[in-house]
């Protein structure tokens, strides 16, 4: 079936056809009569907002979910894919949004998983390793087969995922947001590999939110919105603007209006900070940074460059090995979150369901998660339900949280609303310094706009904000200064007014820039 790729893929019959696929989850119609096909040798992009149903459609293709309605054809033959084994048997490969790797196993073992061994019941890792070397040299995917996965960087892990698919000779390969965790350089490298694969006649399904990538890589584009196909198009026929509109379903608003605020005193001063990650290597090295009252400092960077460890060490979730973190004159390095918060910090964590909210708790309980023990909400050993209820109702109103009631279990709300709850709770503590990590990731556009407005408003009220985001639009739209983080260090701190995306992009990739526009280049301290 490996028809060689041509410049006119439209003339070739599709290798995969999905017709009228519908998938329901309790309370959600994740896919609604979706039609989708892939021809050999093409890159067909699935585009859509968070929760549009992209992953669900692909999990159906891979046999992880069964569709409620609709059918699948492979090379014109109707098929049922009951399990990943079926999918692999049909030479379908999938690189999941969250890597499907076993961290304690080696690269070779991960690749060998699920395959027949040439040595009967024993594993045949030597043969596997040899074949891995072959594949990696022909595609330029350098990786050591004998190393355990947990020791690898994110980029390397992704290479392992691709090798896994190639090893199984996948003719149809799904890549669910493969670029989310890569540097621009790594993205370029990946695209080279992907093109090489498609020109060998493989069909690729590419999933991304990033419009410039979609425009650069795709042969065809299908846009999903709320589980439905919002349109089919090609890069030649469309523009980024149009795609955005198709995704969201309405005209997209630009960055919020930002009144000019004169920054005040230093509120957060970090110096000489070194922090280790879970696997024991330095994630943040000797970092200096200052955030002033009435200022938003944006940390730009590809994820995995120490942003998480930086945020966690400021709030106290992770204890730095050296350095100082001063919040309004109080040293908080090495403190627990309770103490750091006492000094005036608040925290919107990157992973909202892991670090931000207790899913099983009600909306109300999450809204007072930080302050439930204060005199306002408890007395004589008991919670003051009257005061709590009043407070929560007000926050729900103020932040326009869409919830049936404050008694609703939080996990049944959409991501955007959960994020609003966290933000409302954090801002209600009247912090002097806010650490906001990826505050709008996975949040619908409406909620994101609202969250941005709130951050700007607090800035006017004198709060110091450290905004950590991978979304350059967000950073450029909100931050007064941009600190670019790469491999645990700040490459440079730029005045937003004077900075350009190209400059920031290069810094994110670790490329030292020429001394850029004077204003903010100097590192603080």
């Amino acid at each position: 079936m490996s028809t060689p790729g041509t410049s006119q893929p439209a003339s070739i019959p599709p290798m995969l056809e999905m017709r009228g696929v519908t998938k329901r989850f309790p309370g959600v119609l994740a896919n609604d009569r979706v039609d989708f096909d892939v021809r050999p040798g093409e890159v067909h992009t699935l585009l859509g907002e968070n929760g549009a149903g992209k992953s669900t459609l692909m999990k159906i293709l891979f046999g992880l979910y069964q569709p409620d309605e609709g059918d699948l054809r492979l090379n014109g033959v109707p098929i049922r894919i009951e399990s990943p084994t079926d999918a692999i048997g049909h030479q379908i490969g999938m690189i999941h949004q969250h890597f499907m790797l076993v961290p304690t196993l080696t690269v070779a073992e991960n690749v060998a998983l699920g395959l027949k061994s040439g040595r009967g019941p024993l594993t045949d890792l030597q043969a596997v390793s040899a074949r891995i070397e072959e594949i990696s040299s022909s595609y330029g995917l350098a990786v050591d087969p004998s190393v355990a996965i947990w020791k690898l960087s994110v980029g390397e892990r992704q290479r392992v995922e691709i090798i896994k698919a190639l090893y199984r000779d996948a003719q149809l390969l799904v890549l669910d947001e493969p670029t989310a965790v890569l540097t621009p350089q790594e993205v370029d490298d990946l695209f080279v590999i992907l093109r090489q694969m498609s020109s060998a006649g493989r069909g690729l399904i590419f999933i991304s939110h990033k419009l410039h990538e979609v425009m650069a890589l795709s042969d065809r584009i299908t846009v999903l919105r709320n589980g439905r196909v919002a349109g089919h198009t090609t890069p030649q026929e469309t523009s980024r603007q149009e795609l955005a509109q198709m995704m969201v379903g309405r005209a997209v608003k630009l960055a919020p209006d930002k009144p000019s605020v004169e920054p005040g005193a230093d509120r957060l001063s970090i110096s000489g900070l070194t922090v280790f990650n879970d696997s024991g290597s330095a994630a943040v090295t000797n970092l200096d940074l200052t955030v002033r009252s009435g200022e938003i400092v944006g940390i730009a960077g590809v994820s995995g460059n120490g942003q998480r460890e930086l945020a966690e060490s400021i709030i106290g979730m992770r204890h730095p090995s050296s350095g100082s973190i001063i919040v309004d004159g109080v040293e908080v390095a090495g403190s627990e979150p309770a103490e750091s918060r006492g000094a005036g910090l608040a925290y919107v964590p990157e992973e909202r369901m892991k670090d931000g909210a207790v899913g099983e708790f009600t909306v109300g309980e999450n809204l007072v998660l930080v302050e439930h023990g204060s005199d306002r909400f408890s007395g004589r050993g008991l919670l003051r339900f009257g005061a709590i209820r009043e407070h929560c109702r007000k926050l729900v109103d103020d932040y326009r949280v869409k919830t049936p009631s404050i008694e609703t279990p939080t996990q049944s709300l959409s991501g955007g609303n959960i994020q609003k709850i966290i933000l409302a709770r954090e801002l209600a503590t009247k912090p002097t310094v806010l650490i906001a990590a990826q505050p709008t990731r996975g949040v619908d556009i409406g909620a994101a706009e609202y969250i941005h407005e709130q951050l700007v408003e607090q800035r006017s009220a004198g709060m110091a904000t450290l905004l950590i985001s991978e979304d350059l639009d967000e950073v450029f739209g909100l931050a007064d200064r941009i600190a670019v983080m790469f491999e645990g260090s700040i490459m440079a701190i730029l005045d937003t007014e004077a900075a350009t995306r190209e400059q920031v992009g290069l810094l994110m990739a670790g490329v030292e820039s020429d001394p850029a526009p004077a204003a903010g280049v100097a590192l603080d301290r």
């Binding site: 006492g342 408890s378 050993g381």
Partner: protein
Amino acid sequence: MRRLVGGLVPLGAALVAFAFGALMLLAVGASPWDGLTALVSGAFGSGDRLIATAVKATPLLLVGAGITISFRASVVNIGGEGQIVMGALLATSLALGVPDLPAILLVPLVLMAGAVGGGLWGAVPGALKAYAGVNEILSTVMLNLVAVQFMNYLLRGPLIDPLELETGTRIPQTQRLSDNAALPALVPGTRLHLGVLVAVLAAFAVWVLLWRTPLGFRLRAVGHNPDAARAAGIPVRRSVVTALGLSGSLSGLAGAILVFGSEGQRMATDGSAAGFTGSAGFNGIVTALFGGLHPLWTIPSSYLFGGLLTGATNLQRQLQIPSALAIALNGLVVIFVVSSGRFQARIDRFVDGRRNLGTALADDGEPLAPAEAEVDSRG
């Protein structure tokens, strides 16, 4: 609606377990119907039986209420046996030390000593988990063994009844403890003693603690999501110690009640923990589970299991069926109730779906379906 269904599923599971119990009766050559009659009449057949069941249920309820605290905080406590023993030992020592205090002082004091003894013995694995990362399943199992040997040591040595030494019988038991420490009868002339009331009040107190106090709020937050709780400024480690400590203190209270509410009014050992506790430390887990890990539902649940135990004694008296049947039946109930979680979840989803999310009810203290009560027991 969900509550109703939520209650029916474990009940159905228990019925299936009892059907297996009937099979076991057949297997040992007894009539299931006679067995059931003997069981039920032995448990609930008369006023005295009802009271005996209440007395038997008391340690189960206390341990079970304690278990709800620790499990809600996602800490597994299999150390009930040891905590009961240590609570009883401290209470006993106190009663031996100050036997002449008036009852009005001594009774509350021995109960408190029980709670303190059990609480400390629970706090140890709590601290080991929180500060040294030692898995609490293991440490509680090991501490049970240590507590038993400690009890044997004390009851054979320092605390042994001097009369036992004198007569040379050396039964490892204390002397009869001060009457001032005896738990007074609630209804004069019956065995229904103060301990039963204390246990019921304790269950209510646990409910208040978990859903009406900031401490309980923190414990539940830690139980559901320790990362989010910590990030919000809740001291997770201290909460783990507190949860196990409180859980242990209720078991310890049960230990004191076993001593001072018993007819013998003394502590004795046959060398094993079960000889003193009657396995209440394990059976309390069963009752808590059957009560949906909710302290108030644990009250009827303990009463039912207490009935199973008193009924089993009757079964043995009347039909000569070893009371081991009750232990096996307990095991089956646990297995079936826990296994029914998936059906429960399916039913819940069905019910939720029909309610269309909008009217979601999340009242405080909804019993946890066993499947939701998944406890992280990793190291």
